[in-house]
């Protein structure tokens, strides 16, 4: 037999891959052929060396079985974890957006100016406005007066201010005249 065949049979024999008959025949053959026996021993030595080296390097696997047992638990794989994180960010952003939208709608000024422009003259006509002279010049008085007369705050404030000044001017000229 060729060297390669002998070596292969020797490996199979060491690995327990030969049946009983083949095993006994192979042993008998090696006993009769010194050269074949030498080839077989050569590869068997490497086989045992490799087996021992891998066995020595992986010996710690026996000690670690408890750790492995504890670590077996259902967890999401990395890519699913990343996808879930992104989904959470998107949902959070959507919730924040929806909340902000609802809030801004609740405080928005209704499209009232058009209605006010049409109804206020009627209100002003049906209900006489307050006495401008007695309104004073406070901010809220000016605002309330503007609401009743249908004029803008600033416009009405100017009127109130002007009225006050006119009164002051009249009093001043009257005083001068008396003097």
């Amino acid at each position: 037999m060729k060297r390669e065949t002998i070596e292969r049979l020797a490996i199979d024999s060491a690995a327990g891959e030969l049946n009983e008959d083949a095993q006994s025949l192979f042993i008998a053959y090696l006993a009769e052929h010194a050269q074949a026996n030498e080839w077989a021993q050569s590869i068997l030595r490497v086989y045992r060396q490799t087996e021992a080296a891998i066995g020595a390097k992986t010996k710690a696997a026996d000690a670690g079985s408890e750790i492995v047992a504890m670590r077996i638990k259902p967890v999401f794989p990395g890519r699913w974890r990343a996808a879930l994180r992104w989904a959470a960010v998107v949902v959070l952003a959507a919730l924040v957006g929806a909340g902000a939208g609802r809030w801004s709608r609740s405080i928005a000024i209704p499209a009232g100016p058009v209605e006010l422009a049409t109804f206020r003259p009627m209100l002003a006509a049906s209900r006489p406005g307050p006495d401008m002279a007695n309104m004073g010049q406070s901010f809220w008085h000016a605002k309330a007066a503007a609401m009743f007369t249908g004029r803008s705050d600033r416009e009405h404030n100017n009127i109130v201010q002007a009225h006050g000044l006119w009164e002051k001017y009249k009093q001043y000229t009257k005083g001068n005249h008396n003097e």
């Binding site: 690995a15 590869i43 490799t50 080296a53 990395g78």
Partner: protein
Amino acid sequence: MAGDVTSEFQEFWTQTAQKLRAYMFCSCENWADADDMVQDCYLRALRGWGQFDGKASRQAWLYGIARRTCIDWFRRRKRDGLTVRIESVDEPSQVDAAEPAVDNVEKVWDVVKSLSPEQSQVIHLRFAAGLSYAQIAQALGIPVGTVRSRLHRGLEGIRERVGRWENET
């Protein structure tokens, strides 16, 4: 039914965990990574437990999953730009006086790593996982004859390189 699967899987795990851990260590040379891969492998096995067709042995089926787990792990490592080979500093193996000298163990270990991936895979499945030729063939999806020749060529390569190293020293 669920209880049966759980107990069946638990028993399977008890029988195979140590060898699988040793095989995974051969692939990544780091116990922490090996444990992660073992966990990933068993999770995959648990998910596919019901889909096992029974054509191969359960053990061969598990090592088929283990092989894919290793491939995915190496791809992920490569994608993340991490070093693939990490020297093991934790849990050093304790070598008895009766076992081969440490130098020889390290040399043979290094030589096995330097073999082609196909040859070293067969050697790891044989010596670390303790699979038979038929189981290795089922796990790798190759004929038994190919397993035999890869093992032989691998051992030849080890003999040649270790012999060269012994002559040099």
